[in-house]
């Protein structure tokens, strides 16, 4: 099952696009991101601390941008090795559409975990992924629109996504 969400951001598509490609912005918005270092415009090394269910781990890995169509969107592919906790990987298809001076950001994300994380945390992976995706895009939208309240509640959510709604309502 994919996780989807949509945000209306009070900024032009070019500004949103440039933020989506700015390692500093990404570092601030990726939940638990400890390090993010650009290797090239399309590739970054990252260290991210995550907790899935009872398992906490720091993942070392990289983030790659593919299918880049400026300023309409890209596919973000991340994978990280969390040592004895296992691994996590995911991809998110991000699309930007202009909407009357604002930008509608939509995403479809999918996550996969392996090792101890999977055997202990698979019940929780869907809700955790949703929560993390929500946190990321909330922060991202908040970053562009100022401190707070710039992200609307998702225009649509495919699932009854209590955490995401909860999150967005609190931003």
């Amino acid at each position: 099952m994919d996780i989807t969400g949509e945000y209306r951001i009070a900024a032009s598509r070019e500004i949103v696009w440039s933020a989506l490609n700015d390692p500093d912005v990404l570092r601030q918005c990726i939940p638990g991101c400890k390090e993010l270092e650009a290797k090239s415009p399309e590739e970054m090394d990252a260290k991210v601390a995550l907790k899935v269910g009872p398992v906490s781990a720091t993942f070392s890995g990289n983030v790659r941008l593919e299918d880049i169509v400026a300023p309409e969107g890209y596919t973000l592919i991340g994978q990280g090795n969390g040592g004895i906790a296992g691994f996590a990987k995911g991809r998110a298809l991000v699309r930007l559409a202009e909407a009357g001076g604002h930008t509608v950001l939509s995403y479809e994300a999918r996550a996969e975990i392996g090792g101890k994380l999977a055997s202990l945390g698979s019940r929780l992976i869907q809700s955790t992924s949703r929560k993390l995706a929500g946190q990321f895009f909330d922060s991202f939208a908040a970053h562009l629109g100022g401190k707070r309240a710039t992200a609307d509640a998702p225009v649509s959510a495919e699932v009854d996504d209590l955490e995401l709604i909860h999150h967005t309502q609190n931003t």
Binding site: N81, G83, I84, E112, G114, K116, A118, S119
Partner: protein, 791 residues
């Protein structure tokens, strides 16, 4: 209880047949059990493993530099370190012609082949320190496409797990008997596709090993939670190039095994290797997550089967295809093909069917290894058989009891050879069937079922027959080159005060082996059971033997003890005769007293021992009292001692929630001579519950990429007290004539057909909806899907 056999069994029966509690189990009630993890030795280090998180991955590099600097770390070993001292093992046997499996080493080398495959071992002062260091080991992986579904693995474009093999097919075999095409001609045909989930043993005590190598003498001392210490003595000696006489394996108290603790595991080999390399004692105890990721799994079969039946309800032929996924390689040293082999050979075994065709394919997958676990193959074979027999009964309008009456092997047919070639000495199928009919009060529960159905309560009644392989001869493993002993050995010695110590190679994991051996020895020697002490599970102490597998403790171990006891009794009486100047054949031993033909006590065993050990000068010259005897016994005659029995299950299906409640379960079993009914009944009950777990709850669920999704006790459901019914157990005794004791096995009978009975019961309940289910576990979701309540 009626006896199906015509041979009288001379049970003198002060102890054999008595429902005695287990003397040696008392310590568990005082917290004085001693399991491997309870043992601490000086200078001991603890091990922890780094495991591959991917189902299939190439290992490019392992960097342990930082991890080595962690506090308490003694050393970190990887695949290459252990490959230097450990000869690879290959899980094939020659009688499974054409089977192939990749050689295994303690730790993954260039490739890891399941999520959980150990890659590095850290040994440190404490387990916590070892685990801390694991975090700092850096491994560079390249994830490879994984083979997850067994059928996909047979696809020619599938990824290869063992490149050298050329495909993922570990083993395939075909059986054809009679004229199957003819049997299906003009017959009524019933058929079904079955899915049997993967499940696992979940012993309460996880696997644990403490290896202690002394480099000064080359002595290896291993304490291990295992059911087969002699097998491991052989494995460690051969694979680490040690003198076997210098390898000792001790199985202390073992917290459940169920077949899971007789396989060679990578971790155990790595721990032995780490002790050899470090010259220090090294202990490893799996945590529960590691157990789920590395203890063998079981079942995982997809079976397509057809049964031809005449309109009079006479079974005419079975046609079976079984595909089973067994993990990345075949388990050592017993292989991973025995289960599938038994599935295709046991189907229909209770019935007069001569036309038979079956095909088996055993396929490699990037999942945890699969191998023998309690009732190996039987639950699958009997679920398939008994489901189809019930279906056939419905098709031709017969009651489930009636169709079995018409088709069972009967007393006039033995010895019998099944269509698949099993030789059966004698069963009591029809006796057990009628007994079950009586004890279930079948007519009453059927009437109750019909009454309740009108009120919207859906009960189901299911029965399932089993025929079980016990007391195996070397036909199982030895003939294929396996170093697995089918015989057992026993030493009996009279102590200085006239008590008896028994050192025997069958082992104890809670089933009561030590208790029944004491009963047999006391009976055979003619002494008070309170003076008999049984020792098991130490290769330094007892003769070598098969230990515990395939329900052989009572049948093979028991006969060994019986004959050893008779030998000792003869010896004691000879010594007594020499002392008393009385012909030995005029004397016998009763309750520890040497009595003459007039039943007068001439001396006690205590007095005889005192004289023998402390006043040997008083014995006739040149005739020291040899009050120690040894005896070995291996099965001869029939290759296996087949047992039989039948299960009945009464269930209630909540059609709103899909939840199945087992209301009652009955078993009528025939394991030959019952040595201790208390213990037999508890073996049956425990076995039934494991089978019901498989039927309703237990499943190792994997993701599409080969990740185990429920590797904890919170997510993997085992039966609990509140979900299980009371289970009634009844006995029929058909002793084997291959031994004097006449005992066969009973440890797997409970598991062999309880899931089949539950499957039939649930289907009986669902039949009013025109629905059926042929997948276990029968989870609520699957039940609801079967009745069309969810899509």
């Amino acid at each position: 209880m009626s006896n199906a056999s015509d041979i009288p069994f001379a049970k003198t029966t002060k102890y054999i047949g008595a429902a005695l509690p287990r003397a040696t189990a008392k310590r568990f009630l005082f917290g004085r059990g001693r399991y491997t993890d309870d043992i601490e030795v000086p200078r001991m280090l603890s091990a922890a493993f780094l495991r591959c998180p991917y189902a299939h991955a190439r290992i490019l590099a392992i960097d342990t530099t930082n991890a080595r600097k962690f506090p308490g770390v003694h050393s970190i070993l990887t695949g290459v370190d252990l490959a230097r001292i450990c000869r690879p093992w290959v899980g094939t046997l020659t009688h499974f012609a054409g089977m192939k499996s990749a050689p295994q080493l303690p730790l993954a080398m260039e490739k890891a082949v399941w999520s959980g495959h150990p890659i590095a071992i850290v040994i440190a002062e404490t387990r916590a320190q070892a685990e801390d260091a694991l975090e700092a080991i850096q491994v560079e992986f390249v994830e490879l496409p994984a083979v997850v579904d067994a059928l996909d693995g047979l696809n020619e474009h599938s990824a290869l797990i063992n490149e050298a093999a050329g495909d993922n097919l570990i083993y395939a075999t075909q059986i054809e008997a009679g004229t199957i095409a003819q049997a299906f001609e003009d017959a009524e045909i019933v058929e079904a596709d079955f899915i049997f989930g993967r499940h696992t043993a979940v012993t309460m005590e996880p696997r644990s090993i403490l290896a202690n190598f002394d480099p000064s003498t080359g002595r290896l001392d291993v304490h291990q939670s295992t059911q087969t210490p002699y097998q491991f003595q052989d494995v460690y000696a051969r694979h680490f190039n040690l003198s076997e006489a210098n390898v000792r394996v001790v199985a202390p108290d073992v917290g459940g095994s169920f077949g899971m603790k007789l396989h060679v595991y990578h971790e155990d080999m790595a721990v032995v290797g780490a002790s050899i390399i470090s010259g220090r004692p090294v202990k490893f105890t799996a945590d529960r997550m590691e157990s789920f990721a590395s203890d063998i799994h079981a079942r995982d079969h997809r079976v397509r089967a057809r049964l031809a039946v005449s309109s009079e309800g006479i079974l005419r032929g079975f046609d079976v295809d079984d595909v089973t996924g067994v993990g990345p390689f075949s388990t050592y040293p017993r292989t991973s093909v025995v289960e599938g082999n038994q599935v295709v050979r046991l189907i229909g075994a209770a019935y007069r069917v001569t036309d038979y065709r079956a095909a088996l394919r055993v396929v490699a997958q990037n999942k945890n290894q699969m191998s023998q676990y309690r009732a190996v193959g039987h639950p699958v074979a009997f679920a398939v058989t008994e489901y189809l027999v019930d279906l056939a009964a419905r098709k031709v309008g017969l009651d489930p009891f009636e169709i079995r009456r018409r088709n069972y092997l009967t007393q006039d047919m033995y010895p019998h050879t099944t269509a698949t070639g099993y030789q059966i000495e004698r069963l009591s199928l029809e006796i057990c069937l009628e007994k079950l009919h009586e004890v279930m009060d079948y007519a009453a529960i059927v009437a109750e079922q019909e009454r309740l159905r009108r009120t919207g309560v859906y009960r189901g009644i299911g029965i399932a027959t089993y025929v079980e392989i016990t007391n195996p001869s070397p036909a199982f493993y030895g003939v294929g080159g396996g170093h697995v002993s089918a015989q057992d050995g026993c030493i009996l010695k009279v102590t200085q005060s006239g008590e008896i110590q028994c050192m025997i190679s069958v082992t104890e994991q809670g089933q009561g082996t030590e208790a029944i051996i004491a009963q047999i020895v006391a009976e055979a020697v003619g002494t008070d059971i309170a003076t008999v002490r049984v020792f098991t599970g130490d290769t330094d102490m007892t003769p070598a033997g098969g230990a515990a597998w395939a329900c052989r403790g009572a049948g093979v171990g028991g006969e060994t003890a019986l004959q050893a006891g008779k030998k000792l009794k003869k010896r004691i009486v000879e010594v007594a005769g020499a002392i008393l100047h009385c012909p030995a054949h005029h004397l016998t031993l009763v309750d520890g007293r040497i009595v003459d033909a007039q039943q007068h006590t001439r001396m006690t065993l205590r007095e005889l021992a005192h004289l023998s050990y402390f006043r040997s000068d008083l014995l006739p010259a040149g005739r020291p009292a040899e009050l120690t005897v040894a005896h070995h016994h291996g099965p001869s005659g029939f290759p296996f001692a087949f047992t039989n029995g039948i299960h009945g299950s009464l269930v209630e299906v909540d059609v709103e929630t899909g939840i199945v409640k087992i209301l009652k379960h009955w078993v009528v079993e025939d394991c030959g001579t019952v040595i201790n009914p208390l213990l037999v009944e508890e073996q049956i009950r425990g076995g039934v519950v494991q089978g019901l777990g498989a039927a309703l709850f237990e499943e190792c669920r994997y993701s599409a990429s080969g990740q185990l999704l429920n590797g904890s006790m919170a997510d993997y459901l085992v039966p609990m007290a509140c979900e299980m019914p009371d289970i009634e157990v009844y006995h029929v005794e058909t002793p084997t004539r291959d031994t004097e004791l006449g005992a066969k096995g009973c440890g797997e009978a409970g598991t062999a057909a309880s899931s089949a009975a539950a499957l039939n019961a649930v289907n009986n309940a669902l039949s009013v909806f025109g629905a059926s289910i042929t997948q276990i576990p029968m989870t609520p979701e699957r039940i609801l899907r079967a009745i069309g309540a969810v899509g």
